[in-house]
């Protein structure tokens, strides 16, 4: 059985094609693209790309589930399911014992609690404010004139950090400019920025109730600095999938098997 999961987010779109044989799920292909301004076009293009990569035609796919904020715009999906259920499913496929999931996306972050029966039982979302999301880091990278992909290594290169007191992305931007003007080293600012994201996430985890094992997903999970900062503050090790950005699409593809 071949199914497809589409995670249509505000910043990026992921499509994953999955084949189920008798014993296991096999990822045939996945594609990640920026969503852009046209969500319908992005989902169609991303699917076409994933099909090509898997040497399949769209008709070869038995069922499609869409997730993410743009899920209602995927007209060709057979069903849409929230990212809460899809991320949970996707993470459990990789790490079956996980009890807490932290997902940090481009414009939102969420924490999902899983029970002993491997079902989501509670969740918290922060999608009202860019602080604590990938967008926060993108804005700061521009101000600092440093490629965001270097943030992780820079975090690891120093033990010193500057406290970023502003909770709002816009005000934090002004604060950074001010700190640079006062002569603060960019690496200490970057470390401070990453800690401020970690603080936001920790607050959400504590509200839900921390239970190990904990998995970190989302595009921001690729930032080694963010991972380390959260681990340091929680005092635990985090599990991170090889490709943390596709867990939503993976979960959607698995849930499509039930259609």
């Amino acid at each position: 059985m071949i199914t497809c999961g589409i995670d249509l987010g505000s910043v990026s779109t992921e499509v994953l094609i999955l084949e189920k044989n008798t014993t296991e799920n096999n990822i045939l292909s996945y594609v990640i693209i920026p969503t852009g301004s046209n969500t319908k076009e992005a989902s169609a293009r991303c699917l076409a790309s994933a099909c090509e990569k898997a040497s399949l035609k769209k008709d070869d796919i038995n069922a499609i589930v869409a997730t993410g904020y743009g899920r209602v715009n995927v007209a060709f999906a057979d069903k849409n399911i929230t990212e809460i259920s899809c991320h949970a499913k996707g993470v459990l496929e990789k790490f079956s014992e996980v009890r807490t999931i932290i997902d940090i996306g481009g414009q939102d972050s969420k924490v999902i609690k899983i029970d002993e029966l491997k079902k989501p039982i509670d969740f918290l979302m922060n999608d009202k404010c860019a602080a604590g999301t990938g967008r926060f880091l993108e804005v700061m990278a521009k101000v600092l004139e440093i490629d965001i992909s270097n943030f992780g290594e820079i975090f690891l290169s120093t033990d010193e950090s500057v406290d970023i007191t502003s909770t709002c992305t816009v005000f934090a931007e002004s604060e950074i400019v001010s700190l640079i003007g006062q002569g603060a080293e960019k690496k200490t600012i970057i470390r401070g920025l990453i800690y401020s994201i970690a603080d936001r996430i920790i607050s959400m985890v504590e509200r839900i109730g921390l239970e190990e094992p904990v998995c970190l997903t989302g595009g921001v999970a690729k930032n080694i600095g963010v991972k380390k900062a959260i681990e340091e503050k929680l005092g635990i090790d985090l599990l991170v999938p090889d490709e943390p950005q596709i867990t939503g699409a993976l979960g959607a593809a698995i849930l499509a098997q039930k259609i």
């Binding site: 809460i84 259920s85 079902k119 039982i121 979302m125 999608d127």
Partner: protein, 422 residues
């Protein structure tokens, strides 16, 4: 019917002033038009709710000789005993949301120094008062039960209308004991006699006793409704227990209140006869809901979830003794579970979860409502003990701009997925 409603809304939105409101009410409130309007509702309860609401609001606007503003949680038997026509600014703020005019009233409030931190029920009401959209009252009565914004907002209205000496704040003590009851009872008695004196009428204790008897009858039917809802799985289209806030409070002590609730009981009971029981997941709703158009309840239905009860409809008071009216009303106020420590509210939530066999709880965390949101942590912990999920849904009951459709949808759907898989 949808077209007529939309035309009325559009007319009001385009010509937002007291003159237009009065004109609309005169037209809508006239017989047989109001009767015709009533026939457009598929649900008997909705029909009576709308007809009675229009009549009461019309009375408030077209004859303010006995008009009194009142806050929620007051014993409206007192109003009916005094021959006062109640007007509830907080509930009318909900109407501003439903009629699509809250953006204007909120904007007015914003320019009037009302803090953005203040709940939008009070902000919208305050904006409406500043825009002269609400009728001028003769008296203003409020209490300190639960909501602290009411006493401040209502005092500002009293100043604006130059009726500060007719503003009454009922100070409801935190703890229930003999001296609290005496203190509260004395306040209610003073208000009764003082308002009678100001109205230059003889205090009519007989009318107050009658209002209490009617309130007991109202309570009887409300209890029957609440009891029958424990077993209901079929509801008339668009029935929502959170739409009955106005009559639940202001019609307590009136014949109309008894009529409406009697009709509602009969309808709900009859609606389920000879109908197969639906398989639903039962949801308990805490606090209030957005009063502008939203898809929350449609989403729940889509997933097979139904709100089977709302804490706001819980009957928390005992039958009252009409021969001891002030003590009875004092007891009623003091037994409100939102008065005093949060434990009272927790006990009620526990009880409702058990009695209604609840599968999940939604707590609508209305922006600025500290009396409710302040207890979120302990409510969550308590609901967890029942091994059912709870969704704390951040939002705004009146200001559509303070809520994101997509965010609400994802949260409600995520919760529905959790409950329906449980």
């Amino acid at each position: 019917m949808a077209n007529i409603k939309e035309k009325i809304k559009k007319n009001l939105q385009d010509n937002l002033d007291e003159k237009t409101i009065k004109k609309l009410l005169k037209v809508m409130g006239s017989w047989p038009l109001i009767s015709f309007y009533g026939t457009m509702f598929s649900s008997v309860s909705d029909k009576y709710l709308n007809i009675i609401s229009i009549k009461n609001i019309k009375r408030a606007y077209l004859d303010n000789s006995n008009l009194a503003y009142g806050s929620l949680f007051l014993p409206y038997e007192l109003f009916h005993g005094l021959g006062l026509s109640p007007f509830l600014p907080e509930v009318m703020a909900g109407f501003t949301a439903g009629m699509g005019i809250s953006a204007k009233t909120l904007k007015k409030a914003s320019s009037g120094w009302y803090s953005q931190d203040l709940c939008t029920f009070h902000r919208s009401a305050s904006g409406a008062v500043d825009m002269s959209l609400f009728p001028k009252p003769k008296f203003i009565i409020c209490s300190n039960i639960a909501c602290d914004a009411a006493q401040k907002s209502f005092y500002i209205y009293a100043k604006k209308f130059a009726i500060s000496d007719s503003y009454y704040l009922i100070d409801v003590p935190y703890s229930e004991n003999e001296s609290s009851f005496k203190y509260l009872s004395a306040q209610l008695e003073n208000i009764f006699y003082e308002i009678s004196s100001k109205k230059k009428v003889k205090p009519d204790i007989g009318r107050l006793k009658k209002a209490i008897l009617l309130s007991n009858e109202f309570r009887h039917w409300a209890l029957k409704i609440n009891e029958v809802r424990k077993e209901l799985t079929n509801y008339p289209k668009d029935f929502n227990g959170l739409n009955f806030i106005l009559p639940f409070f202001s019609l307590n002590g009136s014949k109309e209140g008894v009529l409406l609730y009697k009709k509602m009981y009969q309808e709900l009971k009859d609606f389920n006869e000879n109908k197969p029981k639906k398989k639903i997941k039962k949801i308990l709703w805490l606090h209030l809901k957005p009063y502008y158009r939203n898809e929350i309840f449609d989403i729940l239905e889509k997933y097979g979830l139904k709100v089977v009860f709302e804490e706001i409809n819980h009957i928390y008071w005992q039958e009252m003794d009409p021969d001891r009216p002030f003590e009875s009303l004092a007891k009623k106020m003091m037994s409100n579970f939102l008065n005093g420590p949060s434990d009272s509210r927790i006990k009620v939530i526990d009880k409702l979860i058990e009695e209604y066999d609840i599968d999940g709880v939604i707590l609508f965390a209305h922006w600025g409502c500290r009396q409710s949101n302040g207890s979120i942590r302990i409510i969550k912990d308590e609901v967890k003990k029942h091994n059912i999920p709870i969704l704390v849904l951040d939002g705004d009951c009146v200001d559509i701009k303070n809520s994101s459709v997509g965010q609400i949808k994802t949260r409600v759907e995520g919760f529905a997925e959790i409950v329906s898989s449980g």
